[in-house]
Structures are given as structure tokens and as C-alpha cells.
């Protein structure tokens, strides 16, 4: 008896432990996945989703930086004020032109660079790392360096241009020169990065397609146009979308270029003020948080517009492609 008691006890304990274990096991199978993804969604909801939605609410109020808990309902006053504000249209236009000037050449150069990197190379690692080194440079540092290179009187770029007989260009005060210079900073920082994305996609294009095209007598260039580019089309769309998002948010480059942190006006005549700069100026220089929220929300609407356009274009393109295939 003295010996059997402990064994029945352990048996019972064993059984209840097993029961608890299956219960825990089931709980674990059901619950663990949610527990694993919860941190992401909690942080996203708190610091991204909620602020975005709340921005819309704030944009319907008059809120000042010094007294942020006092919110005065003004309905759509901020929007009508913005609509009538010349600075807004100027900033919108600048955002679009700067976006085009920085995105289009960037992606085209990236495509060419990726094509070159896709050859069998000696030192391919060197060329790849060299291509993305600018990506390691912060906006702050890059903008400072390029401000120097684009300096009117002693800058490297004007000096080089003078060698081929071009007069000094005022890269800061001339509107288009300034926008070209700022776009150069963006292009410099991001081209290599995009090239690597294209390169990855190019390497996944089946070799047979090239062989088939070669048999059809396609030249290298024709192969590039008819095999490579269609083969990496979805990556191209992806980079267009990402660059567009980046372009609508352009802030650091025009802020620091020329003027340093006081440059919220984007040049003496707002010649390169973007929507991002206008947002900052309204909120943190003019102390009108409601107005700033309005600019942010307009930027968001702009992005949605871009996505809709992209969707439509994509659909049209695929419809055309399928009609070509069936004909």
C-alpha cells in the first residue's frame, strides 16, 4: 500500500497533465498565430492607421500648435482656404514637376544599369556595391554635398560646365535649374537601388525566351525591348509606384538644398517648395495644425488618385495585351 499510493497519484497527475497539455496544445494552435501577428497590427494601428484617419478629422478644425487640445470646428474652411491659396497650387505643381524630373530619369537609368550589371562580369560585387553606396548616405549629408557641388560661384558642376563654355548657372534661384539640381540628389540616391531590383527580376527571366528571340533573329536591343522589359514588367510597375510615393513625400532634399533647415519656403520665391514643405510650413512655422492636416490629407488623396490611374492603365494594358494575344 505504501508503495502503490504514489504510483496511482502519479498516474492521476499524469492524466490531468496530459489533459491540460492537449487543451494548451489546442489553444496554442489556435491562438499562437494571432499572437505572432498582433505586435505588427497593434503598432500599425496606433501609429499609422489612427493618425491617418485622425488627420482627416483635424483637417476640419482650427487647431494651433501652442494650444493643440483646443479644436474649433470649421468644417471645410481649411480646404477652401487651401484651394484659394496660390502657394498650394505652386507646391502641387512643384511636387509634380520634381516628381517627374526625379522619377523618370531615375528609373530609365536604373533599367540601363541593371542591364549592364546583368552581363557576366569581373568584379560584379564591386559594381553592385558601388551602385548602392549613395543609398547609405542620408538626405541630410547628400543635400549638403550637392549644395556645394551646385554652388554658383565655385561649385564643381559650374566649373565643369565652364570647361565646355557654359556660363555659370544659378542652381538655387533659377526655378528649373533648382528643380533639376534637387532631382539630381534624388536620382543619385535611389538609382542604384532600383537597378538592383531590376537586376533581380532580370535574372529570373527564363533564358529560353532569349534563346527563342535570338533564333527569331532579334538583335540585343530588340531582345531587351521584347524579352527583358516585358519579363520584368511587374517590377517596373512596383518601382514606379514606390518612386511615386517617394516623390509625393519629397521633403528633405528641397528643405536642405541651398538654405539649410530654414528652407521651408523652398527657395526665395517658393520655386521648389513641395507639398511636404508646405505641410511643415503651415504646421510648424505658421502654427496652424489644422491647415497642415489639410495639406497631408490632400497629399493622401493625390496618392489615391495615382493608384487609381495606375490600376486603370494596368487594366488597359493587360486588356490590350490579351487582345493582341488572341488576335
Amino acid at each position: 500500500m505504501a508503495t502503490s499510493l504514489p504510483t496511482t497519484r502519479t498516474g492521476e497527475r499524469e492524466r490531468s497533465r496530459r489533459r491540460r497539455r492537449t487543451l494548451l496544445h489546442r489553444l496554442d494552435l489556435r491562438g499562437a498565430p494571432y499572437a505572432f501577428i498582433t505586435p505588427f497590427f497593434v503598432v500599425f494601428a496606433a501609429f499609422s492607421f489612427y493618425p491617418l484617419v485622425y488627420t482627416a478629422w483635424i483637417s476640419l478644425h482650427r487647431v494651433e500648435l501652442a494650444t493643440m487640445n483646443v479644436m474649433e470646428w470649421v468644417a471645410f474652411d481649411n480646404y477652401t482656404a487651401l484651394w484659394q491659396d496660390e502657394r498650394f497650387w505652386n507646391a502641387l505643381l512643384n511636387t509634380l514637376t520634381l516628381g517627374a524630373l526625379s522619377t523618370v530619369p531615375q528609373l530609365l537609368i536604373a533599367l540601363g544599369l541593371a542591364h549592364l550589371l546583368n552581363y557576366r562580369l569581373r568584379g560584379s560585387t564591386f559594381f553592385r556595391v558601388a551602385a548602392i553606396t549613395p543609398y547609405a548616405t542620408s538626405v541630410g549629408a547628400a543635400a549638403l554635398v550637392f549644395t556645394m557641388l551646385f554652388e554658383r560661384d565655385f561649385g564643381m558642376i559650374n566649373w565643369m560646365l565652364s570647361l565646355v563654355g557654359v556660363d555659370n548657372i544659378d542652381w538655387e534661384n533659377n526655378k528649373w535649374a533648382a528643380q533639376a539640381a534637387i532631382s539630381t540628389i534624388v536620382i543619385w540616391r535611389w538609382t542604384g537601388y532600383n537597378a538592383l531590383l531590376y537586376l533581380a527580376a532580370m535574372q529570373a527571366v527564363p533564358r529560353e525566351r532569349y534563346e527563342a528571340a535570338a533564333i527569331d533573329g532579334a538583335s540585343r536591343w530588340q531582345q531587351f525591348i521584347s524579352v527583358t522589359v516585358p519579363g520584368i514588367r511587374s517590377t517596373i510597375v512596383f518601382t514606379i509606384v514606390l518612386s511615386t510615393i517617394g516623390a509625393t513625400q519629397l521633403f528633405g532634399e528641397p528643405l536642405i538644398f541651398g538654405q539649410g533647415p530654414m528652407g521651408v519656403t523652398g527657395g526665395a520665391d517658393n520655386q521648389y517648395q513641395t507639398l511636404g514643405l508646405l505641410l511643415y510650413e503651415e504646421g510648424w512655422k505658421n502654427y496652424q495644425m489644422g491647415r497642415a492636416a489639410t495639406v497631408a490629407w490632400v497629399m493622401f488623396l493625390l496618392l489615391i488618385l495615382v493608384f487609381v490611374v495606375q490600376r486603370v492603365v494596368k487594366r488597359l494594358a493587360s486588356r490590350r495585351a490579351s487582345s493582341v494575344r488572341t488576335s
Binding site: L24, P33, L113, Y119, I132, T137, S138, L144, A204, A292
Partner: protein
């Protein structure tokens, strides 16, 4: 649609991992240099690539040159092309004038914490999305992908109010908390697990009676070390270079490096070579990282389109 483009798989519907075609070439094989086309490069290719490399590297080289001369030499034409004798002296002065010491520590803390937490949470969520079964998985994954398209900058006004309310204005948590997770990171890790973690391993862990966290800890983490390292580095770069939000919420008494750098051209110092010295200092930590881990970073970018 074929899976012809690694990074752009955002439009691919999430599929249950079991139906993944087994014959797919492993990720690394597809990324080997020259895996796609085998043409050898001619001299023109090398020439063009060298020009491209020059464009990439010259501004950085010139930063070093300008930082090593003095103000008068920088503002002469033709501009200097070779380094001068004042590099260390200028670096020291810039370090003090822009309070870069504090900024470096701040950036290190900010980027380090953000990268660590991004990697941890992305690995957890990526694993769950790739290898665990649960209700609503596909919808939630679509939600994650959707959030990639929303730039966090647009919420800065309420975010600023929130941080002021919390008493975090001008403090590092204000910069750290909003970026503790990244949708791109989750997607990146999910891709990796879908392709590289066999279901059998997870099943084997289950048979041995391990609970999910245990499986995660002793099976998943060891396998996921390489992509985690890549994600860490790329997130670190982004967090280190992040500008808009830190510029708004921090001030010059407690800046990160990019915020402190704006100080350099703010009129405190007009000395151009000092400005360049500061720019160089602020870039050096990441440059060092690129020199040492360049190959891994390149591989990481090519695998996953990690753009913050």
C-alpha cells in the same frame, strides 16, 4: 502571370504554402550573378559601368576632399580634387560644433532599437503568415501588403499631438515607437519562410510536442538568421537616414544624425569644409557597414525589395 519578378510580388495572392510548386529553383540560385543571361561583358559595358560607379562614388570622395582642405581652398576655382592636410582637424571641429557625439549615440539607439524590433516582429509575423494556419490569414496578409502603400509621413500632425500628450516631444521614443514594425519586413520574412522553411520541420517539432513559441525559438530562428541579418541591416540604414518625422519631433538639443546635419548649414558654421566634414562624419558609420557587408546588403535588396 509568372513569378518573373521577385520584388514585385506584392500583387501575388497569398497562397497556402503547401501548394507551392516544389520544383521552383531556390532563391539563391536565381540570384547568382549571371543566372539569367550568360553573355560576357564587353569593354563598352565595363566602361559604362565604371562611369556609373564614378557617378556613385565621386560625391562621397569629393566630400572627403573638401573636408580635408580649408574654407578658402574649397571656394577656389578650379575646385580641389586631391585631399588636403586638415581632415582630422576638421572632423574634430565639426564633431563639436554640430554636437555630433550626442547625435551619433541617439541615432545608434534609434536605429538599433528599430532594427531589432522590426526584425523580431517581422520574423514572428512572417513565420505565422507562411507556415501557420489560421482563420483570416489571407485577408490579414493582404492588409499587411496594403499598409505598405500608406506613407507614414501623412499622419505627422496627429502623431505630433500624440507625442506631445505622452510627454515624448523631443525624446527618442517619439521617433522609435511609430517605426517599431514594418510591413515590408513582414512580407520579406514571409517570402523567405515560404521558400526556405520546409513544412516537415515545423511538423516534426509539433510531433515532439513543442508549442509554437518553442518551435519558433529552436527551429525557425536558427534557420532564419541570414534573412534576419539582411533585414536588420536594411532597416538600420532606413532608420538611421530617416529624416521627416525626426526633424519635426526632435530639436537640436537632442537630434539624430540627419537632424544634426541640417544644423551645419543653418548659419552656425559658414565654413564649407567643416560642413563637408560633418556630412562625412554623419555618413561614415553606414559607409563602414556597406564596405563590410556590401555583398549581403546587395543580396538582401535583390531578394526582397525592402524599401521603408
Amino acid at each position: 502571370m509568372t513569378t518573373d519578378s521577385l520584388p514585385a510580388r506584392t500583387d501575388v495572392r497569398p497562397q497556402p504554402s503547401r501548394s507551392e510548386p516544389p520544383a521552383r529553383r531556390p532563391l539563391l540560385a536565381r540570384l547568382r550573378p549571371g543566372a539569367g543571361r550568360q553573355h560576357h561583358a564587353g569593354p563598352v559595358t565595363y566602361l559604362l559601368l565604371t562611369v556609373a560607379a564614378l557617378f556613385s562614388l565621386f560625391p562621397l570622395y569629393w566630400t572627403m576632399v573638401a573636408a580635408s582642405t580649408d574654407n578658402t581652398r574649397v571656394s577656389q576655382t578650379p575646385p580641389p580634387f586631391l585631399p588636403g592636410p586638415h581632415l582630422l582637424e576638421n572632423l574634430g571641429k565639426a564633431w563639436q560644433d554640430a554636437a555630433l557625439g550626442k547625435a551619433m549615440i541617439n541615432s545608434l539607439v534609434v536605429a538599433g532599437v528599430i532594427a531589432l524590433s522590426t526584425v523580431l516582429f517581422a520574423t514572428l509575423a512572417g513565420f505565422a503568415f507562411a507556415k501557420l494556419r489560421f482563420k483570416g490569414r489571407n485577408i490579414l496578409l493582404m492588409l499587411v501588403i496594403g499598409t505598405m502603400m500608406v506613407p507614414p509621413q501623412l499622419g505627422v500632425v496627429p502623431l505630433f499631438m500624440m507625442m506631445t500628450e505622452l510627454g515624448w516631444g523631443q525624446k527618442l521614443p517619439a521617433v522609435i515607437f511609430p517605426t517599431l514594425v514594418s510591413a515590408v519586413g513582414v512580407f520579406f520574412m514571409r517570402q523567405y519562410f515560404t521558400e526556405a522553411l520546409p513544412d516537415e520541420l515545423v511538423e516534426a517539432g509539433r510531433v515532439d510536442g513543442a508549442h509554437s513559441l518553442r518551435i519558433f525559438w529552436s527551429i525557425v530562428l536558427p534557420i532564419a538568421r541570414p534573412p534576419m541579418a539582411v533585414l536588420f541591416m536594411i532597416t538600420f540604414v532606413h532608420a538611421w537616414n530617416d529624416f521627416f518625422w525626426p526633424f519635426i519631433v526632435l530639436d537640436m538639443t537632442n537630434p539624430t544624425v540627419p537632424v544634426a546635419l541640417t544644423q551645419l548649414s543653418a548659419g552656425y558654421i559658414r565654413d564649407q569644409s567643416l560642413i563637408m566634414a560633418g556630412a562625412l562624419l554623419g555618413t561614415l558609420p553606414l559607409l563602414a557597414m556597406f564596405v563590410v557587408f556590401g555583398r549581403q546588403i546587395v543580396g538582401g535588396i535583390m531578394q526582397g525589395a525592402v524599401k521603408g
